[in-house]
Symmetry: C2
Subunit: 350 residues, 2 copies
């Protein structure tokens, strides 16, 4: 059994296109943590594939599972040596945590935000929620400001359990913020904060599977969203952002994970973005760090996990992607309510 | 005259597809520096277009040129206010300079490198050279190591005035390094250093316009290059790297600038990469910082510059791009010696 064999087995079990390099990444991650969620995080591979390869390695006597997590056996150590696997070694900047930007200049707004968000609605499964750390929310703003996408501009936030709308409002950089959200708890929360702090923010109830409302089309300079990661859903959600933009030169920011999207799928996602007339100007790995959410044991991910241990740090991360419209292409704004666009073989946290 | 008018004029003069947002970026850059090279750098726009818009703005009485550089006139200040242009505001991390990674763990190798490189051959125009800072060279290694692309692996360096081969050798991470280079000064230098420091490095004379030698095909885990930026040349040079890789899961690193490539062209470059079976996993803006080179006044860029002032800091930067092979696609390995693949309307530093 070598890495190629393992990759074929994983593809057979999960339908996720994998090669020896993908297997190697899980093994490299396994050499730095025994916690399943860490291994997913450090491997940059989709959770269902990581689970499948670990189960296969266990059947081969290469790893064993216990309440301590995933451990190499003696046989496993010989396997690692024979296959020349090195532990993953990160050189991420300790200051910005690999995000490229710092949020120092937003200290005042950040401190306000940190207090305000203590009363935020908890993430619930019904809306596929899971929010990022306050540092992440502000890093998004620092990045967008560094790209000239905020000052004096109009921002559209499509789904906002991350409270980007409030953070944008508190920094005072943008002129106008519209938040579209299905969860009335978030709408009420953001409207309340907006009126208390006099933020130029309107939060409207809207199901993003439905077309973007007529009056919002062609209105914004920049959008933020955190789309589901099937090719169809990402294309549709980013598409909603694009039709909200004024046109050429408009920018969008969103996250894409490795935990739910293989490198193979990433390429298809990128093709879809380019076909919408967008250029990808930035891809910053592990930029978005999500707080561990409460419904972890209700997810498919929990069933798939070969060890039922809780995560012991924030393990779910995503790359920050910035796109910009460089070619005018007709982007559809269809109703998707009746289509199942949320699941593919790589998803596990919905 | 508004931003849209200016964009149309620039496109007419330069043949570079531009819109109001591109104009805005130059104006935002102009509000933070009067040095032409800085304005190019901070605007993230192609130098010929920046030069054209500044000349047009001068004709309109919005800016004026002097030995101090590019300055707004009174009329210009009113224009900036009317068009609601804000100064560019960077939040780049001061610790990693926006690179995401730090090089602390390579201190010993870096100190050796810093001494060794004092005797490096100077950049010459004949080979379209211009090398990056030692910090940049090592940051590339920190990034590639963070992605698991180095330890125990074989690296191919296609063109190496940046001395990536030597840096790789000094860190001791990779098993084997092959450098292909046309400039015999660099070959001799790298061979000399390799034998003095016992590095696993071979530097071979090779013209990258010619097909990759048979014996190198399918041999490497990772490649580094710094390709010319016409769509055709980038595709060809990255293609040389790809045919040198063992196959699926192989990775490549290279820089793409904004100074020579508009956002419009970036999208075409990205399409070419995806079509080669590659996924783009990282795009890190301003990662690569080039030392100012000596032949600055021999370049087209100098002729284009509306003010003949020297750069006063390292202005030429590029985004670091990492790609990975996720689909096996036949990549051509043709002879390009007789084709002019180096110039397009956006190039100015060759």
């Amino acid at each position: 059994m070598n890495k190629d064999d393992l990759a074929s087995i994983v593809t057979k079990i999960t339908n996720i296109p994998w090669n020896a390099r993908n297997v190697e990444r899980v093994l490299s991650a396994l050499l730095v943590s025994s916690n399943f969620w860490d291994i997913v995080s450090f491997s940059f591979e989709p959770l269902p594939a990581v689970a499948a390869v670990l189960r296969t390695l266990a059947e081969e006597g290469i790893v064993s599972f216990s309440e301590l997590g995933v451990e190499l056996t003696d046989r496993g150590r010989r396997f690692i040596e024979r296959e020349k696997i090195s532990p993953l070694h990160s050189h991420a900047c300790p200051r910005c945590e690999g995000r490229t930007v710092v949020i120092d200049e937003f200290k005042e707004a950040f401190d306000k935000f940190a207090k305000i968000q203590l009363d935020r609605p908890e993430a619930i499964r019904k809306f596929d929620q899971g929010y990022v750390t306050p540092d992440t929310t502000f890093a998004r703003i620092a990045l967008a400001d560094s790209r000239g996408d905020l000052r004096g501009k109009k921002a559209l936030v499509l789904g906002d359990d991350d409270l980007v709308g409030i953070a944008l409002g508190l920094t005072g950089l943008v002129e106008d913020i519209v938040v579209l959200e299905l969860d009335e708890r978030i709408i009420d929360f953001e409207q309340g904060v907006a009126s208390q702090y006099s933020l130029p923010l309107k939060a409207l109830k809207h199901d993003l599977r439905k077309p973007l409302p007529e009056e919002l089309l062609g209105n914004f300079d920049v959008f933020f969203c955190d789309p589901p990661e099937t090719v169809e859903a990402l294309d549709a959600f980013v598409g909603r952002g694009v039709v909200g933009l004024k046109g050429l030169g408009g920018a969008g920011y969103f996250g894409v994970t490795h935990a739910e999207s293989s490198f193979y799928k990433w390429r298809l996602l990128e093709m879809a973005l380019l076909q919408r007339g967008l250029v990808i100007s930035d891809i910053i790995t592990d930029f978005n760090v999500y707080m561990n959410w409460e419904y972890v044991d209700e997810m498919l991910a929990w069933d798939l996990a070969p060890v039922k241990q809780p995560p012991h740090r924030n393990w779910y991360k995503s790359s920050m992607i910035r796109v910009e419209v460089v070619e005018k292409v007709e982007v559809p704004n269809e109703d998707l309510t009746d289509r199942d666009i949320y699941n593919d073989p790589e998803s596990s946290t919905t």
